[in-house]
């Protein structure tokens, strides 16, 4: 069985990659993809902890229902919805500014 640490490391790597992408990408769509990475890092954690809770390494009681998986499904659904809104905004901004680079979007500044 793959130890829990491996899942945690994977999700930590995905999370960091997502944060790095969100902070550094200039392209708005790239940022949106990075955010998806962050959300999915969280999903991995949810599923992994649901599986390992209550096993021999003393992480508390095992859940009676697969709530981690359900959470993950919710997150996927909401992430899809969020992506829709994000894409819509991106299209609207693109129509307005003819650009997808975030440096150009500073209408709220001054």
């Amino acid at each position: 069985m793959i130890p829990l640490e491996h899942f945690c490391l994977l999700s930590a790597f995905l999370f960091c990659a997502g944060i790095y992408g969100a902070l550094t990408r200039r392209n708005a769509i790239g940022i949106l993809i990075s955010i998806e990475l962050i959300l999915n890092a969280a999903n991995i954690n949810l599923v992994a902890f649901n599986k390992y809770l209550g096993t021999n390494d003393g992480l508390g009681q095992a859940p009676t229902v697969p709530s981690g998986q359900v959470f993950a499904l919710f997150v996927v659904a909401i992430a899809a919805a969020a992506s829709v809104v994000g894409l819509v905004l991106i299209i609207a901004i693109y129509r307005h500014a003819k650009s997808l680079f975030t440096e150009g979007f500073h209408l709220m500044k001054e």
Partner: protein
């Protein structure tokens, strides 16, 4: 029938009409002003008649209640007021007529007549008021009109400055007047002149109040040390100098002292102050007039000197002597100023060194000018002789030898400088290109009328004096004062007509004194250094305090806020990724804090 209170209303009506629609009336504004003035004069005559039939002061009703005591709209009807009413409205009428000629091409013709009507209304109201509060209103009214009319040609910087100087200088005296008046009220509880015979109160306080009230008279009547405004006031139109700054308004100070005479008489120290100030002013102004070369300024210093003589007369206890001189002086000084105006109108200059030989060109003006000068010099039988004689006599009889000597010396100087003026302006050879011509009839007729009064007004007083018999040794006094006047005339004749060598060399030998006199004892300069400069510096100091400290605090608060917001503004980059970075760091820090790493 009480009609006295209508007297000031006529000119006031003329003022209201002239100030609003005067421009459309054109010459009509002048006729309106003259007409209302004549009405006031007729009304004053009627009041005089009523007085002789036994009518006395009356009240138009209660105006205010002060500490439970009524303050009335009181109207005084007594000989002093009637005399002032007649002088003001009579001389005013002729000066207004003269003004039609003098001001005929002025662009603010109707404005001039509006102001002068307001002045007439205020001055007539002033002499009718029976309490200090009512008097103060009109007192300020005449001061305001004086300011308007001195600065009437306000395009000339000198005139605008002179107006301000007059206003500020008299204001100093008025402050004293106000304080004295209130002091008197809080000590004795009355503002009414009629109560002055029965005043009860602590002696020093009442003396102080009287002296403070006299300060108002010092300012208004241009007495030392507040006399500096009157010579500068000559920047105004000449009829104004005649009416306001010679005949009537400046006499308001003398009137005030005469009106409060019971108060002064009860406190010898106050009366002594009046006499001494009057004496100083009389002598000082007369000496300055001897060397001055501006025809109007010589007359202005002469006015200060004569007002000083009136104060001296009042101060030595001669109520009738002082007011009698006020009356005769009003006639001949108004006449002299109008003559000077006629001369200035004709030749266009004011410097007497450039005039000369005008007698043959301006007969009417010259003859009337001579009559006025003889009246002022105190040559019998002209008006000034009788009244000056009475002042001298009162000073002598009431044992004031020093003040008597001052008055006598002033008489000598007066006749000397008037003779100098006459000789330099009317006789000799013209000292520059002059195209003089006689003034129109509208100007010369007032001169003739006033000269008749300047010649004869003295007889009103002289038989009265004989009848009372209170004055002993009056023949000796008459002789002495005549001698003094003739000496002054003779000296001037020797110096300016015969041009004798001895007096000339005498004059040359005292150049230092002449310089002192030409600079008016440096009083203006002393005020400049001692008062004006420090006050200006104080003002500038408080101005910069306001600008730097007070405004600095307010602006400082704003500046600090602006600086802080400028710094904080930089955190709002508008770039979403910056916000996210901060958020990530924040979360990391939060986790580290929660895990106590």
């Amino acid at each position: 029938m009480h009609i006295a209170h209508y007297i000031p209303l006529f000119p006031f009506l003329a003022f209201v009409i002239n100030i609003f629609v005067g421009r459309r009336l054109k010459i009509g504004s002048a006729y309106l002003a003259v007409g209302t003035c004549v009405l006031s004069f007729l009304c004053s005559l009627k009041v005089w008649q009523g007085f002789l039939q036994g009518e006395r002061s009356y009240s138009l009703g209660t105006w205010l209640l002060i500490q439970g005591k009524p303050l009335d709209f009181g109207i005084i009807v007594d000989p002093l007021t009637i005399m002032m009413l007649l002088i003001v409205s009579f001389i005013g009428t002729f000066i207004l007529i003269y003004s039609i000629g003098y001001m005929h091409d002025d662009p603010r013709f109707s404005r001039y007549f509006a102001y002068i009507s307001l002045f007439m209304a205020s001055m007539l109201g002033l002499v009718l008021a029976d309490n200090f509060i009512l008097l103060l209103i009109f007192w300020e009214g005449v001061g305001l009109c004086s300011y308007f009319l001195i600065a009437f040609w306000h395009e000339r910087p000198a005139a605008a400055k002179a107006g301000i100087k007059a206003f500020v200088t008299t204001r100093i005296g008025d402050t004293g007047f106000l304080v004295g008046m209130l002091l008197l009220f809080f000590t004795t509880g009355t503002f009414h002149f009629s109560d002055f015979q029965f005043l009860r109160g602590p002696e020093p306080v009442l003396t102080l109040a009287a002296i403070l009230i006299f300060a108002g008279a010092i300012g208004k009547s241009a007495q030392f040390p507040l006399h500096v405004w009157l010579p500068d006031a000559m920047e105004g139109p000449t009829p104004i100098s005649a009416l306001i700054h010679a005949a009537t308004m400046v006499a308001a100070g003398v009137y005030l002292v005469a009106r409060c005479f019971p108060l002064f008489a009860a406190h010898p120290a106050a009366l002594q102050t009046v006499a001494v100030i009057g004496g100083i002013s009389a002598l000082m102004a007369a000496t300055i007039a001897v060397v001055n070369n501006d025809i109007k300024r010589v007359l202005a210093y002469s006015t200060i000197s004569q007002l000083g003589l009136m104060m001296l007369g009042l101060g030595v206890g001669g109520l009738s002597a002082g007011t009698f001189h006020l009356m005769t002086h009003a006639f001949f000084k108004a006449l002299l100023f109008l003559c000077a105006g006629s001369i200035i109108h004709a030749v266009g200059i004011q410097d007497i060194r450039q005039m000369g030989g005008l007698f043959s060109k301006m007969k009417v003006t010259s003859v009337t000018f001579c009559i006025g000068a003889l009246a002022l010099a105190g040559v019998p039988p002209f008006a000034g002789f009788w009244s000056k004689d009475e002042i001298l006599l009162t000073a002598w009889n009431n044992h004031h030898p020093v003040l008597f000597a001052v008055a006598l010396l002033t008489s000598l100087l007066t006749s000397f400088y008037m003779a100098r003026l006459i000789f330099l302006v009317l006789f000799g050879k013209p000292r520059s290109e002059l195209h003089a011509h006689e003034s129109p009839a509208v100007m010369t007729i007032p001169l003739v009328v006033l000269s008749v009064f300047a010649a004869l007004a003295g007889f009103i007083g002289s038989p009265l004096k004989e009848a009372t018999g209170a004055y002993e040794g009056s023949q000796v006094m008459m002789l002495a004062s005549t001698m003094v006047s003739l000496t002054g005339l003779g000296l001037a004749y020797l110096i300016y007509i015969r041009q004798m060598a001895l007096p000339q060399s005498l004059l040359m030998s005292c150049q230092g004194l002449k310089q002192l006199l030409l600079n008016k004892y440096y009083i203006d300069e002393i005020y400049e250094v001692v008062l004006v400069k420090p006050i200006l510096r104080l003002c500038q100091g408080s101005f910069s305090f306001d600008m730097k400290i007070v405004d600095g605090l307010v602006n400082g608060v704003a500046n600090v806020t602006q600086f802080c917001s400028g710094v904080l503004r930089r955190t709002q980059t508008g770039l979403v990724q910056n916000y996210l970075l901060v958020q990530v760091f924040g979360v990391v820090l939060l986790i580290m804090w929660l895990l106590k790493i």
